[in-house]
């Protein structure tokens, strides 16, 4: 099982999120994570914003990987979000972002987390994968594209 599969439950795939700003996306992520009983929404929101201030996590080509360390989080958790309308993200290529993979890790970040980040960057660097993700509209199908395996639910 690849690393992405280990942190991305099917329920953390959100399709057609209708928000107009980075702030609203991060709020939504906070609610999603809180709803799954991990940590409070405000901690998630603040961590993502603070990291973004130090440098954009936009990869270019409409993709971003916002990430942050969260106090009290026991293990890394991911969420994949496709937006209905792209938003401004201050990406290096100045293109608006329409797909985000959010990665939250415990306060003590380790090599494992860097490896996850590396795997994500690798995945999104592939043009075909990007196009499939962009065109996909079914959570299970997206999950499979991201993890390379069938969702176990």
């Amino acid at each position: 099982m690849n690393l992405i599969a280990s942190i991305l439950p099917l329920a953390n795939i959100v399709i057609d999120l209708d928000v107009g700003s980075k702030k609203r996306v991060f709020e939504h992520v906070g609610e999603l994570i809180e709803g799954r009983g991990h940590v409070g929404r405000q901690a998630v929101f603040e961590s993502l914003f603070a990291r973004e201030k130090l440098g954009s996590t936009g990869l270019g080509e409409g993709i971003a990987i916002p990430h942050g360390r969260i106090k009290g989080l026991r293990e890394a958790i991911g969420a994949f979000i496709k937006l209905k309308e792209p938003i401004d993200f201050d990406a290096p290529d100045s293109k608006p972002v329409s797909m985000l993979f959010v990665l939250l890790v415990p306060e003590q970040a380790t090599d494992l987390h860097l490896q996850i980040l590396g795997e994500l960057a690798q995945l999104f660097s592939d043009k075909t994968t990007r196009e499939r993700l962009l065109n996909g509209s079914d959570a299970a199908q997206l999950h499979q594209l991201l993890t390379g395996q069938h969702a176990a639910n």
Binding site: K23, R24, E46, F49, L54, G55, I65, H67, D88, L114
Partner: protein, 457 residues
Amino acid sequence: MKIIILGAGQVGSSVAERLVSEANDITVVDIDGAKLKHLQDHLDLRTVQGNASYPSVLKAAGAEDADMLLAVTQVDEINMVACKLAATLFNIPTKIARIRAGDYFSYPQIFAAENFAVDFTISPEQVLTDYIGKLIEFPEALQVLDFAAGKVRLVAVRAYHGGPLVGHELQNLRKNMPQVDTRVAAIFRRDRPIIPEGQTVIEAGDEIFFIAARDNSRSVMRELRRLDKPVKRVMIAGGGNIGTRLAKALEGQYEVKLIDHNKKNSERLAQELDNTLVLIGDATDEELLIAENVEDMDVFCALTNDDETNIMSALLAKRKGARKVIALINRSSYVDLVQSGQIDIAISPAQATIGSLLTHVRRGDIAVVHSLRRGAAEALEMIAHGDRKTSKVVGRRIEEIDLPKGTTIGAVVRKEEVLIAHHDTTIESNDHVILFVVDKRMVAKVEKLFQVGLGFF
């Protein structure tokens, strides 16, 4: 970034102008439609007319999507309430309030998240008071700016005939005082920047910006020009917010006279100030100035809220023999007119205080921003994060760093230690790096340089 600015007064409009030019998405809110119209005609921004502390107005301004709120109306209470609403109703991550009344600062807990939820306060009046206070402490300087909580100073001086270094190469500075480490960050000659090098010959009239540890700044000044005699007597025209603060700050160490035209206000000031002689009268009244021995004044500060009065009274004071005259001038065209004329130092309040706002708006971990030379140049204190892999500065010698054109690193502060920058100084994570940027268009590149890469957690 999506930013809402409350208040289209001087602070609000000057920061709006600056931020629009830095590619932000700006909405300005004010109760006065005429002020908004003026802004909208000149700048690419959105405006909303209404009471800045009403939830409906904040919502109309886009509070649900905003990254930042700058509450800079003239009323402290509106600013504080707006921050509270921005937190409670709209969850805006960064909230900044302009606070004038010193009283609030005596109880800093009121700004905490569970109270008024003000993340940062700015106080233009205090910034200006400190600015002028420094010029009185260092009468030979054009500007004195603090970095790293006062551990490092950036000083601007004009080189005069008779200064030990005038007509010599910059490298002599080091030979003349081997025990004092300093770095000349920039030289402006007839308003044009020159990048200082060891062989650069200092000319009379050059405006020199140097960086040194606090305790060394005076010795370096002495090398660049002879020192003036210390200030003893100060006359202040205008007993408003700034004039009063300045008098309060100075009256312990200097003989201070303050002129205010309003009788009631003067009586109140006389009560409030312990050691200041408060005079009722017109700051442009020649006879009053003469009667109060303006010719014996070391510094005359014209700080009323009227540009023309400040210019006229400063000119008059200079003519009547005041040694150095300083005038607050709001209109930038006036600043350009009088600068380097009879008035020794013309201060634009908007320029002097915008840095305290830019500090929070800029991307990156920024401790201090000072806007210099009427906004053309900038000095910044940036905190480096990451490691050799995730940062473009950490783990590198200064000579290895790809600095934008016209940018110099002047000093590095590592915990308590001040390191004056040399080509082989290596930047570490959490270092405070003090940079001078001669052309503000390069600031965005400096910000990028200090941003961490994707791999930073």
